[in-house]
């Protein structure tokens, strides 16, 4: 049962996401004044499907909301309702409601989601129906034709007539054998210049192998243009004028096999009605004619949904296999030592190499499956942008690039909240009100750029606004007032250093927390959350020009390449992505600069950290030690270790709950032989070492 529920949740989530995407496009179309009919249909279908599956899985409240939204959308689709900003607001709100309902158990007795309020809102928007002018009467379209039109087709006809778009009748003859492809071809050609309202078998019939169709078109193009585009062998185009009958009545009796029995006017809710059957071979029609149950039953071919835990398990198995491989390698080495077994050793070595290759393929394959494009997350953000901008009466254009960039599913999941917060911040604090912007000589609408790209083993996400920027001086003053830095400390604080202040706990430059950005999370939480994913965040800002936040994340957390280092007889794994270089450590070159140990490396000062001291494990090692230069984002330091033990692919495993609060360690990994190595948390260590030296610096000054 819970499997089914998971299946439902994941499908429902997908539907809600696509719904959200289409709503954004619809919003855009509404602003541009461009045609949005197809989008309205998409949205309608999505909600309809959601209603269907919610019912099947016992999500009654979700079903109820979907049903109410569906009614509203149906009105919109059929022109009984106009697309307004208010209506769009309600639809967007609907997406939020869906998401909150999906997060709840359907059996929960108490719910945080007030669907009653939402339903009331829906009703009040739905109540304001504009009158629909009936321009169709002037055309005197034959009643029997009107009768076979679905309500939707009739609405399209009326809309086009109301807009003054010309109506045409195109007579075509299609062979029965190829009618499907010919129809599709006609639709494709018509798409850019005309809207096909309906097509009916013509009264003139056709011969045994072919059928004549009357296609009812609405187009603003001239007859000549239409003729050019749609014309073909045996095609006859005719413009319908007021007072003429556009399509000859269909005589059902003549075409028993082809034409349905006396057409019945489609009931107002097309979803509950079977698609009006017209011809025996009509898949294209069925597709166009709503949805009903076909959509919910149709599944996307060649795609499976997999629980990420199953992939984790597979990854673990790959890790175990890698250990087996190492063991076989060691055995091979032993065999080599014995001359009489040399040939055997060589064979075994070759087999093991083959095994290794396949193992790598397997590992890459599993990693690939875990990857999802960032687009899903970005879509959700686009909705936030619209909402926040409206609430603040700001105009914001969101520009998204690199949405196809892929990243580990688990990372994506954890990324939504931090990104959402940054976006809210950018609109709330960054982008100015339209009037302010105009005074500053900027366009009234702000631009928010969301950009993602892969850089080696990392994914970089940039959030850039062209707003007011952050004034480092204001940050410093606030920090002094809050006692976060001393005045002396602030005096020689560089511009970049000052900008980093925003990431400190308890720091907010606004006295009154805005209802949007101030929802209990600050930039420090964003930073912590990103750090937990093995990533870092950096900020750049120019007063008056804008702010850019750059997040650097590892592509995956599942399996990583690591440098094994030795400290006090223990091995530790350091993600290779964080390692810049490793050199021999020369204690004589260490200088103490204001409480911290530094070395100069190619002209740059590098803070060093003796891992044995930090971890309070006394190293008895004498002799040569090494300095591993660790860097994440813009931060660098040198870790002093006893030895380098080589590079290895490792599967990171979480420590138990009882050790989750240990700093500087992000997990552990099995090295085989029952040996377990701790995985160092590079961003965490960098933070700890660099900020603690800053603190001792300040304490030293006091």
């Amino acid at each position: 049962m819970s499997d089914l529920r998971d299946e439902f949740l994941s499908e429902a989530q997908e539907i809600v996401e696509s719904l959200s995407r289409d709503l954004l496009l619809l919003d855009q179309a509404h602003k541009d004044g461009s045609s949005s009919q197809e989008l309205v249909n998409e949205v309608f279908r999505a909600v309809h499907t959601l209603k269907g599956i919610a019912g099947m899985f016992g999500y009654a409240r979700l079903g109820e909301v979907a049903h109410a939204l569906e009614d509203l959308l149906d009105d919109l689709r059929l022109g009984r309702q106009n697309l307004t900003t208010e209506l769009l607001d309600v639809l967007f709100e609907g997406v939020e409601v869906f998401q909150r309902l999906l997060a709840e158990s359907p059996d929960a007795e108490v719910s945080d989601v007030d669907i009653i309020a939402f339903l009331e809102q829906l009703t009040s928007v739905g109540a304001s129906r504009p009158p629909v002018e009936d321009a169709l009467a002037a055309y005197a379209i034959d009643a029997s034709v009107l009768a076979v039109l679905t309500e939707y087709e009739e609405h399209r006809l009326r809309t086009n007539v109301a807009k003054g778009v010309g109506l045409y009748r195109l007579k075509v003859r299609f062979s029965l054998a190829t009618i499907d492809t010919q129809l599709e071809d006609l639709k494709a050609r018509a798409k850019s210049i005309a809207e096909i309202i309906t097509y009916l078998p013509s009264a003139s019939g056709g011969d045994g192998d072919a059928i004549d169709l009357d296609v009812l078109l609405a187009s603003s193009a001239t007859a000549a243009t239409l003729e050019d585009v749609l014309g073909g062998e045996g095609a006859v185009l005719e413009r319908l004028t007021r007072g003429t009958s556009p399509v000859a009545p269909v005589r059902a009796t003549e075409h028993h096999a082809l034409v349905p029995p006396p057409p019945v006017r489609t009931p107002p809710r097309p979803t509950s009605a079977p698609p009006a059957p017209r011809m025996p071979s009509e898949p294209p029609l069925a597709k166009r004619e709503v949805t009903a149950d076909q959509l919910s039953l149709r599944s996307v071919a060649h795609t499976v949904r997999v629980d990420i835990r199953k992939l984790d398990h597979l990854m673990n198995v790959v890790g175990e296999l890698a250990i087996v491989r190492t063991a076989v390698m060691r055995l091979t080495e032993k065999l080599r030592g014995r001359p009489e077994l040399r040939q055997l050793a060589i064979d075994l070595h070759r087999i093991n190499r083959g095994f290794e290759r396949h193992l790598e393929e397997l590992q890459d394959g599993i990693l690939d499956v875990r990857m999802v494009p960032l687009g899903q997350t970005f879509d959700r953000l686009a909705r936030i942008v619209r909402q926040v901008a409206r609430e603040h009466d700001k105009e914001v254009v969101l520009v998204v690039t690199g949405a196809e960039t892929e990243i580990d599913k688990l990372i994506v999941e954890e990324l939504s909240d931090p990104l959402m917060h940054l976006i809210r911040n950018a609109i709330d604090h960054g982008i100015e009100a339209p009037k302010t912007r105009e005074l500053a000589g900027k366009p009234p609408g702000g631009t928010l750029v969301l950009n993602a790209y892969q850089k080696g083993n990392h994914v970089v996400i940039e959030i850039e606004d062209d707003g007011a920027g952050i004034n480092p001086q204001v940050l410093i003053e606030t920090a002094i007032r809050r006692g976060i830095v001393s005045e002396e400390g602030a005096a020689d604080m560089g511009r970049d250093e000052a900008l980093q202040l925003i990431f400190l706990p308890g720091f907010s430059t606004r006295l009154r927390a805005s209802d949007l950005s101030g929802r209990g999370v600050g930039m420090d939480v964003v930073k912590t959350n990103i750090g937990r994913l093995g990533g870092v965040i950096d900020v750049q800002s120019e007063v008056g020009t804008g702010t850019k936040l750059t997040i650097t994340l590892p592509v995956t957390l599942a399996i990583i390449s690591a440098l094994l280092v030795r400290v006090a007889e223990r091995e530790y794994a350091l993600p290779i992505t964080a390692v810049q270089e490793a050199i021999v450590f020369d204690p004589k070159r260490v200088r103490r600069v204001e409480g911290r140990e530094v070395v100069t490396l190619r002209g740059e000062t590098l803070t060093i950290c003796r891992l044995d001291e930090l971890f309070r494990v006394q190293s008895k090692a004498r002799g040569r030690r090494y300095l591993v230069v660790v860097a994440v984002g813009q931060k660098r330091m040198g870790l002093v270790v006893d030895g380098l033990e080589g590079q290895q692919d490792i599967v990171i495993k979480a420590l138990g709950k009882s050790l989750s609060r240990v700093r500087g360690i992000s997990g552990a990994t099995d090295l085989g032989d029952q040996r377990v190595a701790l995985v160092l948390d590079a961003p965490g260590l960098l933070d700890e070492v660099l900020t603690s030296t800053e603190r001792t610096l300040q304490e030293g000054r006091r």
């Binding site: 971890f615 420590l655 009882s658 500087g664």
Partner: protein, 174 residues
């Protein structure tokens, strides 16, 4: 001791034992720690491990010895001597790690020696409330199993019955 791992899920009943008596039996895994006998409810003990190499974790809570990998799952090992505040001593030949289910996490508990499984009847257990005194909240009571040789109450072995949850909750407090 390895057959403990594959213990049957149904406890074989003695022919003399009545239905009610069987139901009131407490199954205890008894182990030694600094010359005392202690017991965990058997149902909470997942597995008994011979001592694998333990990887110490820097800056971990004081009672944590380190971590081991149990078939790929990283498991925290707790020094029960430290946790029970008895004299510390390096583990010897008979030392074992008990994997104990502590609601939400399986923890390894290092003990000196695993003794045996006892099925204690109602009258062989004195609950903490009856024993009185100020026993810690992790002591359920005291078990006094009968033995064939010795039916005399006074000479029986004494097992301190431990409740894993409050015991390991000390980890949180450091």
């Amino acid at each position: 001791m390895s057959e403990l791992v594959k213990r049957p899920t149904i406890v074989p009943m003695r022919p003399t034992g009545s239905e009610t008596r069987a139901a009131s039996l407490r199954e205890i895994l008894a182990f030694a720690l600094a010359d005392e006998s202690y017991g965990f409810p058997l149902a909470r003990v997942r597995e008994i491990l011979k001592l694998p190499p333990i990887t110490p974790v820097p800056r971990a809570p004081r009672h944590v010895l380190g971590i081991v990998s149990v078939r790929g799952v990283i498991t925290t090992v707790v020094d029960l001597r430290r946790l029970m505040r008895v004299e510390e001593r390096p583990p010897e030949k008979h030392a074992r790690i008990l994997l104990v289910d502590v609601g939400g996490e399986v923890l390894g508990a290092l003990v000196d020696e695993v003794l045996q499984v006892h099925r204690l009847a109602e009258d062989e257990v004195e609950l903490a409330g009856v024993v009185g005194g100020d026993l810690s909240d992790h002591v359920i009571g005291v078990g006094r199993p009968r033995t064939r040789r010795d039916q005399d109450h006074a000479g029986r072995e004494l097992i301190v019955l431990l409740d894993p949850e409050p015991l390991f909750a000390r980890l949180e407090r450091g």
